[in-house]
Amino acid sequence: MEQNMILSARHVRTWFPVRGIAGQTVGNVKAVDDVSLSLFRGETYGLVGETGCGKSTLGRTLIRLLDPTDGQILLDGTDITKLSARQLLPLRARMQMVFQDPYSSLDGRMHVGEILMETLAIQKRGSRKDNMELVLRMLEQVGLLPEHFYRYPHELSGGQRQRVGLARALLPEPELIICDEPVSALDVSVRSQIIRLLLDLQEQRNLSYLFISHDMSVVRYMADRVGVMYLGRLVEEAATDELFRHPLHPYTRVLLSAVPTPDPRTHRERIVLEGELPSPLSPPPGCPFHTRCPRATEQCRQAFPETKKAADGHLVACHLV
């Protein structure tokens, strides 16, 4: 099991200090707080949660775009938490990221070819001619044409841009790609094409995906396992089928009840959450979800729920389970 693990996070915290006028730390925004998760080779791990729950911050921390405040990140057994930029460079090729916004994720002053060649130049690979060959082959693999090489991003559609973003992530030949809402900015028709492409590439290259999304139906289609985040914490984790059939955490149930179904006759009880997501600057004591939980008890208000194993591979952090 261990050697099949590509990425493993142990008790990762990413806190952003809030500074007062004199520069002193007056508090911490606990965007990611004590999250542990593992990713196996060839697996898709769906990370879901509402806006502001810290899922993007977690993704950025895992790829070392942000430095974790505490905890360990292991890439294929190597602790990358404390590595310098130079030590990290060869490892960075092994984990790449695809971003949500296909517009701001490409430099408008460079044509597609330049953008992609840049990726190889960073890794100091090959001659210009070889790299160009690689880029052209990659364009084909992500469903673009050779003539897109000299196109500027503003001449491309959203879907085509996202394909370029995907090509950029694939060029260093990574084993792991962190997909930060890669399809949520796209039209529905284009969305399914990109998802198809992601799945095909995964099969060809045995890629692992950390798939960050707030769209439960996409996650259900893509992911092998799903983690649910709330207020910087992982509250439930299970295999996709298990999670969708037997959600244990009240928050997961709320999320699932919000997924629309194609059949209008099925009637499901819709649980509507009261209130807003509490500020991660001062998370409530006890269970972070108790302020909005329909089933909260006195115990929830006071004691923090430890993560426990509900079934094989099914973890949940709730007193009521």
Binding site: A93, D101, S105
Partner: protein, 290 residues
């Protein structure tokens, strides 16, 4: 492999012609460019264009009126040909304008770029800039010239120091916007070095703001050079500069109006030309005005 180079050539041509077309559609920019170009030509070919030696004195012809044979724009108190002096004065103005424009652009942009990328450097550099911009620019230039002593090179040096802080601020704020773009994040996630990100990715994206500001610095330094020379701390006599011709003319303004009117006009046209050119550039380069 498909014939990519032909595709490339075609696309390049298309994109270039679009840019050229946008430039020529903007009449303001074309007019400004013509004036600047004219001034540059005059400066470069001054020895060919000037009818006489700007330093040759013919005391018998002192204060010759405009139109006198050999003195199209009149003569000064030493009988030197005013037209030739103004033509040679363009050399000073253009040298100062171009040098100050370029040096303040290069240094100011570098300062701004590094300030945007490194936090500690940012607070140090920006405090220095704040300190320098707190002093009125002409006053600062005069003070610097008083310390450095009058010479064309020192004018360039002093004016560059005066215009760098503003340029640094403008490039910093433009760079901060670019730095937050996702594509910079993508580069960082791939392990791109700070030098690569700053110079290959942020710099080209702030260039339009910087170039526009440089063109304003060009115009302003022409004016300020004239002011410094007028006050006697700029380009020293007998080398002609529009400012020191004006200064000499001030004493004889009632007797020889041409001594003030023509160099004044030259300065006004040059400054207006560069300003119009700058505005035109801004319209072309800034996508928000389109």
């Amino acid at each position: 492999m498909t014939d990519l180079s032909s595709v490339r050539r075609e696309l390049r041509r298309e994109q270039r012609s679009l840019r050229v077309h946008r430039f020529f559609r903007n009449r303001q920019a074309v007019l400004g460019a013509c004036i600047v170009l004219l001034m540059l030509v005059v400066a470069v070919f001054a020895p060919l264009l000037a009818p006489a030696d700007p330093l040759a004195q013919t005391v018998s012809n002192r204060f010759a009126k405009p139109g006198t044979a050999g003195y199209l724009l009149g003569a000064d108190k030493l009988g030197r040909d005013l037209l030739s002096r103004i033509i040679y004065g363009a050399r000073v103005s253009m040298t100062v304008g171009l040098s100050v424009g370029l040096s303040s652009m290069l240094i100011g942009m570098t300062v701004g770029l590094y300030a945007c990328y490194y936090r500690v450097l940012d607070s140090i550099l920006m405090r220095i800039c704040d300190g320098l911009s707190a002093i009125p620019s002409t006053l600062l230039a005069i003070a610097l010239m008083a310390v450095l002593g009058p010479s064309t090179f020192n004018v360039i040096l002093a004016l560059s120091i005066v215009y760098i802080p503003r340029m640094a601020r403008i490039s910093r704020s433009a760079a901060l916007v670019v730095k937050e773009q996702t594509y910079i994040e993508a580069l960082r996630s791939q392990g791109a070095s700070a030098t690569r990100i700053i110079w290959r990715h942020i710099a080209p994206n702030i260039l339009s703001a910087v170039v526009v500001q440089a063109s304003y610095n060009f115009a302003n330094s022409i004016i300020t050079e004239a002011a410094l020379s007028f006050l006697g701390v700029g380009v020293p006599a007998p080398q002609p500069s529009w400012g020191n011709i004006l200064s000499e003319g001030r004493e004889v303004i009632t007797k020889a109006w041409w001594m003030v009117v023509y160099p004044g006009l030259a300065t006004a046209i040059a400054v207006m030309g560069t300003n119009i050119f700058g505005d035109g550039l801004r319209d072309i380069l800034d996508p928000h005005t389109n």
